[in-house]
């Protein structure tokens, strides 16, 4: 029984087989196409339908886009050129409006001779923020980042440079008050001093000081009022200021919501729920209309500043909730580990808890920022001339009456570039932190 097959099973290989190429259907493009597009009946159907949809969209959009007209003084001129080149009723994009009015869409009514200031301001801003965004740069450069807002103010608005300098000095005074207070009466006294002293300084001393210095050495650029700001520049200034200010405020609110101190806890919850529960547009109207009822008559409180404050408060409530999610995701062992080493509350938050919680919250935070940035277009409803507002006023002129798509495509592309950059940055940051501590 056991050796029945012994004769037939015996085998000795006499020549070895060389490795060969796999069959053509299993490699390269063909394999990819088969696996990803035509792997089954349902997949084949979906592929065909998708291709049809894409073809339908492109066949309508592409002619419009490719048959563009760049040189024209008005919409009717555009149409004449189109009729001549592509025949009447052909789809044709009239990008001449962008060529003619791009400076308005970008800068609003900002004086033409000061465009360089706006451009330089944004370059300074990006350069100043890079040490914050990219940790591989030397940490000493963070001092330059701290100075950036003041430099940007001096460039965008201008006026005597002593105004921003005197304002910046307030922070140095705060730091001084903290260290003096710390020596005199411990942490609590130091914290109170660090808040009260600079506020008193800003209220009563900063103005006269700036005026006195201006009297002695009148250096500075011509002042440009906020009313002249407009276009994409306005959206960017409001958006970026609100983003920068809402992150620290949102983090404080998130910590407040976790706090065991009753008053702080309830105030944080109330703030977050009220701000978040009301549409942004309502807050913007509050900023533009209602605030005047509460302020003393004759107070001239810059509308742009009011909008920045409202947008900041609004997005800080969202940031607070996103960060709270990150805080909740940390195991309690991290808090206990920090506590057991004797770190105090702020040390353990700053060194242990927040770095980890913020890392978890990055996608949510950037999501909120992108939303906020796009929401800045809502300021058109309270009369600020953002790109949408300017597109309306451009359409109101006789030359460009009736043009829609070209303007909105341009504005859309501008916003897309900014939002897509933010999204890519967040992915870069996530990957970097992932690599550092897996």
């Amino acid at each position: 029984m056991s050796d029945t097959h012994a004769q037939t099973v015996r085998f000795v290989r006499d020549s070895m087989i060389e490795p060969q190429e796999p069959p053509i259907s299993e490699t390269g493009v063909i394999r990819w196409v088969r696996e990803n597009l035509f792997s089954g009946w349902l997949n084949i159907l979906l592929t065909v339908v998708s291709l049809a949809v894409i073809y339908f969209a492109l066949s309508h959009l592409l002619p419009w886009f490719l048959q563009m007209v760049w040189n024209a003084g008005s919409l009717s001129e555009c149409r004449e050129i189109r009729n001549e080149r592509y025949g009447p009723d052909a789809a044709s994009a009239c990008f001449a409006v962008i060529r003619e009015r791009w400076h308005q869409l970008l800068f609003g009514f900002y004086p033409v001779e000061a465009y360089w200031r706006a451009v330089l301001g944004f370059v300074v801003f990006l350069a100043g923020m890079s040490p914050v965004l990219f940790t591989s740069l030397p940490r000493k450069l963070l001092w330059a980042s701290a100075a950036t807002p003041f430099v940007c103010y001096a460039l965008f608005w201008g006026g005597s440079i002593w105004g921003p300098v005197a304002t910046a000095l307030g922070f140095a005074i705060g730091a001084g008050a903290y260290s003096l207070g710390f020596r005199a009466g411990g942490k609590l006294a130091a914290s109170i001093a660090a808040i009260v002293v600079p506020i008193l300084y800003w209220l009563f001393l900063a103005g006269p000081l700036a005026r006195a210095l201006t009297g002695i050495a009148p250096i500075g650029l011509p002042f440009i009022p906020s009313d002249d700001f407009g276009g994409f520049m306005l959206s960017t200034i409001i958006g970026l200021s609100a983003i920068l200010l809402s992150l620290p405020l949102g983090i404080l609110l998130a910590l407040g919501r976790q706090s065991h101190l009753f008053i702080i806890n309830k105030v944080s919850i109330g703030f977050i729920e009220i701000i978040r529960g009301v549409p942004l547009i309502v807050w913007l109207f509050t900023a533009s209309l209602l605030l005047n009822y509460f302020l003393p008559p004759g107070t001239n409180f810059d509308l742009m500043l009011r909008v920045i404050i409202m947008a900041t408060l609004f997005s800080s409530a969202y940031i607070a909730e996103v960060v709270r999610g990150g805080l909740a995701a940390l195991p309690s062992g991290q808090y206990e580990g920090a506590d057991s080493l004797g770190l105090d509350y702020w040390q353990s938050m700053r060194l242990i808890i927040l770095p980890q919680a913020l890392k978890i919250s990055i996608p949510g935070i950037v999501n909120t920022f992108i939303g906020l940035f796009k929401d800045t277009t809502l300021v058109v409803f309270i009369g600020l001339l953002d790109p949408i507002g300017l597109s309306n006023s451009i359409r109101a002129t006789t030359e460009w009456n009736g043009i829609y798509w070209e303007l909105f495509v341009f504005i859309g592309v501008l916003f897309f570039i900014c939002c897509f950059s933010m999204s890519r940055y967040s992915i870069y940051l996530e990957r970097k932190l992932q690599r550092e501590n897996r």
């Binding site: 506590d339 004797g342 980890q356």
Partner: protein
Amino acid sequence: MTDAALEVEQRREIDRSQMTVSDEVAIQITEMNKWFGSFHVLRDINLTVYRGERIVICGPSGSGKSTLIRCLNALEEHQAGRIVVDGTELSSDLKNIDTIRSEVGMVFQHFNLFPHLTILENCTLAPLWVRKTPKKEAEETAMHFLEKVKIPEQADKYPGQLSGGQQQRVAIARSLCMKPRIMLFDEPTSALDPEMIKEVLDTMIELAEEGMTMLCVTHEMGFAQAVANRVIFMDQGQIVEQNEPKEFFNNPQSDRTKLFLSQILGH
């Protein structure tokens, strides 16, 4: 002596020359009570720990042993009675709490290393920020203790890249960097694979040999017999029996202790 204890003894000679108990009181607990809500977790705890003592606390789960040692550095708040650690009374005064925490090292069951910092940064963090030690000195101290727990070569890695046993040894080194006078261990080997328990216990034995005051919640009875000078058995939030290890294991007095010992040593 049980097999486990023999194993620890045989692994290497334990040097008892430094393991002396002084008359100086390290921790004094009087009439301490604690509740979680309405649940009475710790009942009338009285305990005096002398400097240099190695105390092992054991008992069934839920008996309050972890809560007891977590009260000693105020990770849990006690509601009645007094706890005096190193001459400082634990009250709600935050300053006292931070002082005590920087003097008392704690090692957790789940290590609680900081995953976003390297091993070296984990060890230097508290000295830098709490003790305000200069960076260079803090790093030298950290490397000294990392060598002591035999993983100096891992200093630049992140906790997630280390094995459980290595992480727990880093946690011990991290505590030691604060030069604590008392070390608390909360089930330091319970989350480890059997092979890694040995390396952590060896580190703890070394600490004991140097005369560190240690309170250790553990089920490692071999460790208790080899290095402890006192074993405390807790049940239902109270201290049921305490004795020196030999007596405790060979001649337990209370029925509850006998039952517990028969269950954990029975196989």
